[in-house]
């Protein structure tokens, strides 16, 4: 009879939500890396500076949970062009006096961060809703 697995079923919901929390936390890590390195120039003259990283998500079947969980896929480099500024005095400047700055746009990173935060909160909400449902099941015993 399937109703022996009541708690196990809820545990699956929790497991799925936890995978969401983990993925969003990983995304936050990548975003903070981008923001922290928004002005990291190259160590050598004329070299390439920090390149923005883009987190990717993929949906995969977790066999122990038998559900579609989310996972943080490969972290890819952003191929857009670097910002170039004319700063002849900068140690990272090339022969023409131009310095390449990272292709990080703080505005985009902030928006992305808010989005990650919102998804994280949604997953937390699922966990607390599931916990309340488990509590209701246990309350049947008390009556």
């Amino acid at each position: 009879m399937a109703d022996r697995q009541v708690i196990a079923d809820f545990a699956r919901s929790m497991g799925i939500a936890t995978s969401g929390l983990r993925a969003q936390a990983g995304r936050m890590r990548v975003i903070s890396e981008n923001i922290a390195n928004a002005d990291s120039t190259a160590a050598t003259a004329g070299g390439d500076p920090y390149r923005r990283k883009v987190p990717t998500f993929s949906s995969e079947l977790d066999r122990t949970l038998d559900a579609k969980v989310v996972s943080l896929g490969r972290i890819r480099p952003d191929q857009t062009a670097f910002r170039v500024k004319h700063e002849p005095g900068n140690p990272a400047a090339d022969a023409a006096g131009n310095v390449k700055y990272p292709n990080v746009n703080p505005l985009i990173e902030m928006t992305d961060m808010r989005d990650a935060q919102r998804s994280y909160e949604a997953n937390l909400n699922i966990i607390s809703a599931t916990r309340r449902m488990i509590q209701r099941t246990l309350d049947i015993l008390k009556s």
Partner: protein, 136 residues
Amino acid sequence: MSINDLPGLTALRTRMQWHQERQRVLSENVANSDTPNFKPRDLIEPKFDTAGASAGGATGSLAMMRTSSSHIAPLDGGAQSFDENRKTGFETRPAGNSVNLEDEMLKVASNQMDYAAVTSLYSKSLHLLKTAIGKG
């Protein structure tokens, strides 16, 4: 006849299972709210016959009902237990994801409230039985 065979309780238990399963489907939707090409899903409502049993056996594989003998019999495996929720399809984002977080939160809240209603009905039914046998 054990308590578990009472039609009312059976219907309530099936309903509770349905809510649990729905919670799982909704948490899948929320967890995958940023996954490219992910389409949200939902469960269709369970239907009960007069005996309190769900029309298609266990939840999760509710079968199609034949209301008239002149209808074509459904094929095996044609049981539709997922509602692919095409209503919100117009909100697909450029990455091919059409999960609407607000919508999902609303569904989770209503699922939770319905579940609370079913569990309190269940304990009320048990209480009625206790009264009947004189222990209430």
